[in-house]
Amino acid sequence: MTTPAARSTPLAETAGPGESPPSHELTDLSVMIGGQGGDGTLTVSDLLGRYFRKRGLYVYTSRNVLSRIRGGHADASVRASRDPVAAVKSRVDVLVAFDNEAIEMGKVELEPHGFVIYDSTTFRVDLPNSVGFPFATLVGGPLGQPIFKNTAAYGALSVLLGFDADQTRSVIEERFKRRGGEALEKNLKALEIGRRAALAAGGVANRFSVAPGEAHDMILTTGNQAVALGFVVGGGRFFAGYPITPATEIMEYLQRYLPAFEGVVRQAEDELAAINMIIGASYAGARVMTSTSGPGLSLMTEGIGHAATAEIPVVVADCQRVGPSTGQPTRHEQSDLSHLANLGHGEYPRFILSPSTPEDCFELTVEALNLAEKWRVPVILLLDQALCQNTSTSSRFDLSKVHIDRGKRLTATAVAALQQYKIYELTEDGVSAVAPPGTPGVWSEVTGNEHDEWGHVSVNPANRVRQMKKRMEKMVKARDDLPPARVFGPPDAKVGFIGFGGTSGPILEAVRMLETRGVPARYLQARTVYPVPVHEIDPFLKTVDVAYVVEHNYTGQLARLLRETMPWHHAKLRSILKYDGSTFRAPQILANVKEAA
């Protein structure tokens, strides 16, 4: 049943069966691309994502890669839908395979109407609705290297899925223009080779196209890029980090962006240095951030406690991955929440913010910088692998909403009017006014030791109580300043969901699916997860009969925090958990919802 394109066949522009229009239209399409690391599967996924975005569709791409540079199986998936989706689709419509493993993995998820294309250079597939193209051989001759086989596969798909030819080409131009002349030229040739091969070959009986959507003027980006942009626009000018998956791209983007704004990005010798460098820079008066994942967070914990006690503002982006230890570096989990809520030895305040989309990442990064400086409290941006690295369609980031609040930062003029400059002065809201070092006429002592208002080390019991209260009460006093939750769904729905971060995409999809089954449901997306926003979640829980807390960990960490802070809702809370390293798909959530049956 496989029909590899014969190399001797002249690849004419006309007369191929592939040119006939696809038989029907889908409104929600999923393409899975798999191959060996280095085969360029992520590039195919990126190209398809860009194309679908241009067609006004909502796009979500995800990847399943191993922690190695080359070799080993890697796959990616692209979903394009007319509805706003931010989750992997449960089934695959099109499978693009560069190795046999992709076939083995993908065929179980393939829809009955789906089809497979594969690189027949090295292997054969015996599945109905599969067609082989010797992509590596086809590009290897004219372009000198087989690596362009991925772009050729994109070209073949563009024909089989009835893509607009001009937009297919402009995606290649966009993607490779930064790499310059030769890369662009060869990829354009590879595109053409793939297109001609598909035009010439027959054999795929079930073909379909995707209806264009109405989501125009959107962007396609990752949480990591959004965090980096939020940092720049929020006035962040000093970043130190240490490479770690899945957080590294934040540092890489900032290495590109920050120098133009007089910012500094340093790659430190370890996470201990990274957190302490930003502490130093923040003390000096810069807006700062570091980003890391579980193992790095463990090392940074020392510094975060110091920053909290010394009242030096810091923002730490934690891109959660499977832990503990090295765990699964490239895989998804949300298992740092309990650690973060109880971070460190001793007791100190911290705010934990949890965005759920790229746009939310952008906004909450700005907010994190504001909150850290305003309250002089460490702020954690709680992210997860899916949110950090998967791309999804997002509204354009709105600069008019960006507001910079530096809190009680003292100018030289304000300082001159003071009688005394006490860096830990006791105040109504617990926040002391601070002038960065270098401000004429004043100097200060800043320390992680317990201190008096002047910053002098103190073991006086009454002073200890005063300074502890000053710091700890910020968690209460800042309540109305912290990012509010978002609630979706009708207010009279009796089935509730609670979640955070990258899990919001599949939860919202599950809520929509329930709605079509006649079961109205509501979803509360917590954007501040610590201190637990009891004032938001308690009223929400009062409106529902049952609330499913959906999260990626073994112990139900968010549910535990909710039970701890709102024991009176204990009976209403049910956990839906996943800790296999992959993200929820909406039907997997529904399978655990009794009311869905």
């Binding site: 975005r53 000093f238 010798e269 460098m277 820079a281 110091h306 009688q419 006429g441 100097w443 992680g448």
Partner: protein, 288 residues
């Protein structure tokens, strides 16, 4: 005049070598006329690390071993500040060793003073990385900071002083601070600072110190020569002191932003959205 934090009395034992560093720091800063508000001292954890409490200065009391990372952060964020990091041998050469090695590589224009007393004084006399074999059961050979520093090929200023000779120390600290303030890179000064309570080495060290400048081959611009001189002197049972490396390079062009061409650096640049709007719009427009 606004009242700022006032220095407190040193917690050190009478006769502690750290008093020598305190006095020399005061004199060096005064001689160079560094305004108090522009001077930052990042202290480590241990007796010596509390030195910032005893000076009229911007004091930043860091975590144990992390003072260099914090000091580099301060300097890179605001290169107009004069930044000194000061701590002990345990802080710098044990828990802080990773940051110590990288400070030479990073080459930020800060001064790092290690008060080496070959013991953990504050926790009452345990062996430290520089302790001699036999001290409090120590079986490990002492760490040699100067040989290590000389082995890292970066244009750093490297010197060793002795608290028994505060005059020489003042002049070396002055030179190191000038080196920093000219933006030429990292300056490392190890001071031999006896702990009179747990490791009173005044008499021994006074006999053993040898100013390398008095040796016939002395050439602090030649790393090779200085490494050999320090190694030989040490092997002969003497303690080399003096300026060990004075790099030939005219100016360091490394990490920190030069205060030229209108650049302000992370702290002093204007971060308002209004000012940056066209550049921000351009940045966001680059998204696909």
């Amino acid at each position: 005049m606004v009242q700022s934090a006032k220095p407190v009395s040193p917690i050190w034992c009478p006769g502690c070598g750290d008093f020598g560093v305190l006095a020399a720091m005061k004199r060096a800063a005064a001689n160079l006329k560094i305004p108090t508000h522009e001077l930052v001292l990042v202290g480590g954890i241990g007796c010596s690390g509390s030195i910032h409490n005893f000076l009229e200065i911007n004091g930043l009391h860091a975590l144990h071993g992390r003072l260099l990372a914090q000091a580099v952060g301060v300097k890179l964020a605001n290169p107009a500040l004069t930044v000194v990091a000061a701590g002990g041998d345990g802080d710098g050469y044990a828990i802080g060793m990773g940051h110590f090695m990288h400070a030479f590589k990073k080459n930020a224009s800060i001064l790092y003073i290690v008060m080496n007393n070959e013991t953990y004084g504050l926790t009452k006399g345990q062996a430290s990385p520089t302790s001699q074999i036999g001290f409090e059961g120590n079986v490990e050979p002492p760490f040699h900071s100067i040989l290590t520093a000389l082995s890292i090929p970066a244009p750093n200023f490297i010197a060793r002083t002795f608290s028994g000779d505060p005059k020489a120390m003042t002049s070396i600290l002055e030179e190191a601070l000038r080196f920093n303030r000219e933006g030429r890179g990292f300056a490392f000064v190890e001071d031999l600072s006896p702990c009179v309570t747990y490791n009173d080495t005044y008499k021994l060290w006074r006999e053993k110190v040898l100013d390398v400048a008095t040796l016939p081959d002395y050439d602090p611009t030649d790393r090779k020569v200085m490494f050999r001189l320090c190694l030989e002197t040490t092997e002969e049972g003497r303690i080399p002191i003096g300026v060990m490396h004075r790099p030939k390079e005219a100016a360091h062009d490394g990490l920190e932003l030069k205060l030229v061409g209108g650049r302000n650096g992370p702290v002093r640049t204007d971060i308002s959205v209004g000012t940056n709007l066209p550049a921000y719009q351009k940045l966001l427009a680059s998204l696909a």
